[in-house]
Symmetry: C2
Subunit: 248 residues, 2 copies
Amino acid sequence: MSTQQAPCGDEDRDRPQASLWERLDRPAPAPRTTLTPHRIAEAAVAIADTEGLDAVTMRRLATALGVAPMAAYRYVSGKDELIELMADFVYGQLPLDAPADGWRAAMRSLAVHLRAMNLAHPWMVRAATPFALTPNQLAVPERSFAALAEHGLDADTTMAIFRTIAGYVHGSVATEVALAALRRDRDWSDGDETRAGLAPRMTYLMGTGRYPAYRQYLQQATRKDDPAWHFETGLDCVLDGIATHFGI
Amino acid sequence: MSTQQAPCGDEDRDRPQASLWERLDRPAPAPRTTLTPHRIAEAAVAIADTEGLDAVTMRRLATALGVAPMAAYRYVSGKDELIELMADFVYGQLPLDAPADGWRAAMRSLAVHLRAMNLAHPWMVRAATPFALTPNQLAVPERSFAALAEHGLDADTTMAIFRTIAGYVHGSVATEVALAALRRDRDWSDGDETRAGLAPRMTYLMGTGRYPAYRQYLQQATRKDDPAWHFETGLDCVLDGIATHFGI
DNA sequence: ATCGACTGGATACAACGTACACACTGGCGC
DNA sequence: GCGCCAGTGTGTACGTTGTATCCAGTCGAT
């Protein structure tokens, strides 16, 4: 990450990214249509969606935008900032409805939407740093805090609740996405095909005899291919736990 | 991305290219001491621990091992497999004590150990694919299933419980590690210094007026620098939720 | 002693992120 | 009108990365 300050020559060790979001607000002094942060983000997200995050290359992005390889560097200080921009762009499309049905419905809805977002853009799990301070990402804790405000919880407890849910969602979805990604770039269409592809490794591991309980699971489970059930079951556990633990 | 595969297109002639883990079992026909999977993993982990995952380069690794850049490729099919090897190596050091105090104590202990492991090797969050089928990583669900076996839960429920806890731990620790990593490579020693470093960005974001609830949190919270409290509070919530939800 | 599998070394290449210097553009003060 | 200059986009180039490929040495079994 290198420092790039547009306005003044105030050379210092301060955060360069702040200028990214500020620049995003006021479009430009002399507006061009060829390249904008929005167009850059859009193109990069499109590439990541169709070809994966690794395909998002400064050169590949430039080709998609019809400009020279270095052109995007006028808007983004480097690849890290590009990915931050992409993540913020995707979070910007997250529906943040405000239901009045209480904290639980609100948090459940948020969690479900977050999962859907990450499944629609599987690269987000790798791209979005948890707690990244970008406008649209910060909107998530903001809405959560607002939803939790009705009870007289103190700030630390509110944060603990948010982090518990956010942690569960992030980790749970990361698992799901990792498996989905494995399937996708191995061209395994359904669960059976996946198991067939994983069979050699599985056979070896089970052959060691170290995993009797896991082997039993493999034989008895019937919802192995129902990630939504797993996610929502776990989510309801977490919400139950919060309700019980804090008496709300 | 990962797993074993024959480097060339025409695969499994007579020999189905034993997986990395099978090769690890039978040491070698003609044992050398210069290079072994164990030594490779050890060196790579040491580099990642001290200089970060990005510093783990095939060349850097070779230098650390005192061999030529391509030498490690005799033991590892590529960088993906190297990282898989590193992850398995670290998981191998995870203490898997078997307390007889019931599922809750067992799962809580496992979660705490997993957090400690990820904090000791922050790069693990990026390196270890959830549900990766490596011997030492598979030992985690194995032990969990064994701990949960005492109640007559069906296989799907058992997995749901495991995934709920594992998801929470993974996501929660990922958040914590991301912030710790940010702090480390910015040389922010304590929480105050971190807030000072983040101040410009924060000031801008709060200046937009979009985040009143978050602003209030920032003003009122007193445990912002106590990640262990956050982790364990959330963990107890999750465990409470499981106990409530499944009546165990 | 000989063989053949195994190990490590040397060289090479395409692709990546990005530094740097240049050429163009269009709205501003004159 | 005219020039100016900050802001945009281009072209070229460099260092680093993962890894394919070919080569030479080594050692146990024959």
